[in-house]
């Protein structure tokens, strides 16, 4: 018997515009101890489903039909008294943001002990023992001291471990996880995913994992469901879903992800055209109809498409699944021509660039003697976890901040100590930036064409009104937006559209160097692919040098020509992208690579997990910055002496005490299981 059985669930919301079926019809079974992953873009109804299962529908939502059978009880009709026993007892949930899941005014111990006392009627002493035991289970060192701490005294990863511990305390049979690792650093994420796999075996808890990240789902789940417009469109064992996806939407999602080993020259990303229809606006027959390249009139729009079995355990809701069976070959769209390998001109040269912030009497070195170059027309990616100083460097380069020492040559002039106000107009136009947050990048008070027109005037590209208008239209066309959009206000645009405007704005002054600070990390995967394709196309057409700041190594592998890996304000390794993703590795790069959630269960990755926390930037180790967490630490020399720069040839430089010969002997992180 299945643990959770959702039968023909229909969830409706009452809005000012009438009743909207956020979930028109949804069926799903999860067995005891199973690990099920649900993916889909935002707006597909994943969160609504979780809310329905947990009975948090709000005043305007209701279950309008069907049933949610959990351990034989229908949750859709449970009384408040029953819910008290179920929530936190039989079903527990872990949300995305661990900081808001914990009460800031209570110690971790108090919050954990509440669970067995409320759900198991345990005594205080019993509750304490159980809380300490579960904290040890989630691998928090020194549970006794963690119990006495307040949430703000823990890091994000530690807080999420506490939340998971709290969820497991009552021994629930079902654990709902709503994007539990989004917002965590990639190494922390990998450790949390490992933990979930381990706990699942130990506690026998069924997992219902919701994520927009197929890579993460692939690490944790046996079975994966793909949700679109409130319906399950594909349901398959994890391996089958990645090997032979049947639904065009599933294929679209997989196509918008950079695969391991693929790059922009060989496997361009393919985005899904169009947008997720708003709740209740999807076609009745097949929700994906309007965005599907394979849709056929008369077949796809006739009647509601039923879920059909492809093979044992693999279900798909597509009228043409049998005809479109073969996995699509790599489409040859948006291919970026490989860059000529001859020595390109150096556009930016950082030489011992440092940015120091005085903090009281101490010094915080956000950037510590950075040295690397960016070549004309190339994509230089700077990767690192939060706190690595990559965004600080982006600001220094763009002139939003100034370096405190060192030399930063951009197009022949030293701009290290010069913020925009001290740079010439031509230099400012030549170095532009695209920011991370689509919601903050445009001024909500001005129409989206305004910053474009303003930039054109300020940089002297166009002065006459007619000229400016024509240029604005050309810029919008360049980012594939209709010219009519220039009069729209930012709030009328989607996140992807806002980032397109931001790209157009950056290109208004014909920049030589574009700094992009995590430009797609806040976007959905399919939108991410479209924006990346667009950015790379414009960059290649204009011969612009792109400095791409990212924490996503999969994306970096895909788009970069050269990579710089940063940790705690210093460069650990730098070199051409191909060299970086194969041995010899810097131990930190190796750990970062092995933490990447790969959307391919057939790929085996070396498992290296970093211990401990990133040291405070105010109190950095005197030797190698990475020594405190390095799994390959040699000994005292790493703690005391800054590592030498080892040249591995072909501009590949590794800052490590370990001799190159030994670094060369490590196995590649990604290997095919065959």
């Amino acid at each position: 018997m299945s643990l959770l059985s959702i039968r023909n669930l229909r969830v409706e919301y009452t809005t000012a515009r009438g009743t909207v079926a956020a979930i028109p019809e949804f069926s799903l079974d999860i067995a005891q101890g199973e690990s099920f992953g649900l993916v889909g873009e935002s707006g597909c109804g994943k969160s609504t489903l979780i809310m329905a299962i947990m009975g948090y529908m709000g005043r305007n939502g209701r279950v309008a039909g069907g049933e949610i059978l959990f351990e034989g009880r229908d949750l859709a009709r449970a009384s408040a008294e029953e819910w008290r026993k179920i929530r936190g007892g039989r079903i527990a949930i872990v949300y995305q943001e661990p900081a808001t899941a914990l009460n800031p005014s209570m110690t971790i111990g108090q919050q954990l002990m509440e669970v067995p006392i409320a759900h198991g009627g345990a005594s205080t002493a019993e509750a304490r023992t159980r809380a300490e035991r579960v904290l040890a289970d989630v691998h928090l060192p020194d549970p006794d001291s963690v119990m006495r701490r307040y949430p703000h005294q823990l890091s994000g990863g530690q807080k999420q471990r506490v939340v998971i511990a709290m969820a497991l305390l009552a021994n629930p049979s079902l654990l709902l996880l709503d994007e539990p690792t989004t917002g965590l650093d990639v190494t922390v994420e990998a450790a949390v995913l490992d933990l979930l796999n381990e706990l699942r075996e130990k506690y026998g808890t069924a997992l219902f994992y919701i994520s927009h990240n197929l890579g993460v789902i692939a690490q944790v789940c046996d079975r994966i469901g793909v949700m679109y417009a409130g319906k399950l469109v594909e349901d398959a064992p994890a391996a089958a879903l990645f090997a032979t996806p049947r639904h065009p939407y599933t294929r679209g999602l997989l196509g918008s992800l950079p695969r391991p080993g693929a790059d922009k020259h060989t496997h361009p990303l393919v985005s899904i055209p169009g947008v997720v229809p708003s709740a209740g606006r999807a076609p009745e027959s097949c929700g994906f109809l309007t965005r599907c390249a394979l849709a056929q009139p008369g077949v796809c729009d006739a009647a509601p498409v039923p879920m059909e079995a492809v093979s044992g355990g693999h279900l798909v809701r597509c009228a043409r699944w049998a005809e479109v069976e073969a996995p699509a070959a790599t489409p040859a769209s948006a291919t970026v021509a490989p860059i000529a390998q001859e020595r390109a001109e150096i556009v930016m040269r950082a030489d011992e660039v440092s940015r120091m912030f005085p903090v009281g009497k101490r010094r915080l070195l956000a950037n510590d003697r950075l040295s690397f170059v960016a070549k004309r027309g190339h994509v230089l990616a700077i990767v690192g976890e939060s706190g690595s100083g990559k965004s600080t460097f982006a600001k220094v380069l763009a002139g939003l901040d100034a370096a405190t020492s060192g030399r930063l040559d951009v197009l022949g002039d030293d701009v290290a100590g010069k913020p925009v106000r001290k740079r010439t107009a031509a230099k400012v136009a030549a170095v532009q930036m695209v920011f991370q947050n689509p919601d903050g990048t445009l001024n909500p008070s001005h129409p989206v064409g305004w910053p474009l027109a303003r930039a054109l005037r300020k940089f002297g590209i166009a002065r006459e009104r007619k000229d400016v208008d024509a240029r604005v239209a050309a810029l919008l066309d360049m980012v594939r937006l209709p010219a009519s959009l220039r009069h729209a206000l930012p709030r009328q645009l989607s996140g992807g559209q806002k980032q397109r405007i931001a790209i157009a704005r950056a290109f208004a002054g014909n920049p030589e160097l574009l700094v992009a600070d995590e430009p797609v990390s806040a976007l959905d995967v399919s939108v991410q692919a479209a924006v990346i394709n667009l950015l790379l196309r414009i960059q290649a057409e204009h011969g612009t040098t792109l400095v791409f700041i990212s924490h996503d190594l999969g994306l970096v592998r895909y788009l970069a020509d050269e990579v710089v890996v940063m940790y705690l304000g210093q460069v650990m390794e730098s070199g051409p992208v191909a060299a970086l993703f194969d041995p010899p590795y810097h131990p930190y790069t190796e750990a970062l690579l092995s933490a990447v959630p790969v959307p391919d269960p057939s790929l085996r990755t070396t498992r290296i997990r970093l211990e401990g926390e990133i040291p405070s930037p105010l109190n950095v180790p005197p030797g190698c910055r990475f020594a405190t967490r390095c799994p390959r630490k040699l000994g005292a020399v790493c703690d005391d002496t800054p590592p030498p720069a080892r040249d591995a040839g072909n501009d590949h430089v590794i800052h490590c005490h370990i001799p190159l010969e030994r670094l060369r002997q490590s196995e590649p992180v990604f290997r095919h299981a065959s």
Binding site: E41, S42, G43, K46, S47, I50, Q96, D178, E179, T182, G183, I210, S211, G274, V275, V276, P277, S278, A398, G399, L400, P419, V420, R421, A425, V428, M433, F435, Q436, N437, P438, D439, G440, T441, L442, N443, P444, S445, H446, P451, R454, A455, K458, F459, A488, L489, R491, Q492, L493, S494, G495, G496, Q497, K498, A502, R505, A522, D524, S526, V527
Partner: protein
Amino acid sequence: MSAPTATESAGRATPSLWRRLPSSPVAMVGLGIVLFWIVLALAAPLLPLAAPNAQDYMAMGHPGSSARHWLGVDPLGRDLLSRIIWGGRTVLAVAPLAVIVAYTVGCAMGLLAGYYRGWVDAAISRAADVILSFPVVVLYVILIANIGPSALNIVVAVVLASAPGIARIVRGLVLSLMHQEFVAAAYLRRESDVFVMLVELLPNCRGPLITDFCLRLGYTTITIGTLGFLGLGLPPPNPDWGGMVKQATSMITVFPHMSLYPTLALVSLILGFNLLADGITELSQAD
């Protein structure tokens, strides 16, 4: 939402606040009351009213309402209806003028403090704290008693008392807006400080400021009434709602209408401003 992601679906356009005003009954009632007084004040010279300072000695014996004097007369035999309507003219001219000037000063202070931080912020914020630490009425009494009662001095007093509060609101908004990336984008266009403050930052303070503006009009109306009642309003014989109440307080048990009608006028106008502010808050929160 499950993901911290922005969807590609285009959002629905929200019409401007003023066009949505009719959908809030509270705001419409407030607006109606305010418009009623504005129309009366504008039309005062055209209405068949007795002159506000003309004394009708015949009516003084029976100061209650009559066919000649609908609302009766005051202790000096002056027509109450006429004085209330003409008094409305001063309130409706002085209150918005004072608030607009206070806004100009307060916005400038707040923008400078929030934008430049450091010693500019320290100087402006401490000066504001000093002014805000005075009880408002005491501040008014000290000011007006020193510079003398007149319409201009009322404006000066209101500006001095209100600007620090406005500056605080604007400073807070500017501090949070400064972290937004569109400000960095403006620097990357080499925009000047003044441009960033006035064109990039100030328009985004609009929402909270519109509500505060309406509320402040109400407070200022109260202030003008209070000053009049304390004898610090417009000098006689100008019709002044607060002054009219004060003049009639000694007869409140005998002829309550003399203080009641000007009070009702004050209360209704203040209520109008406050309801309008409530309605606007409600509308902006529905966004």
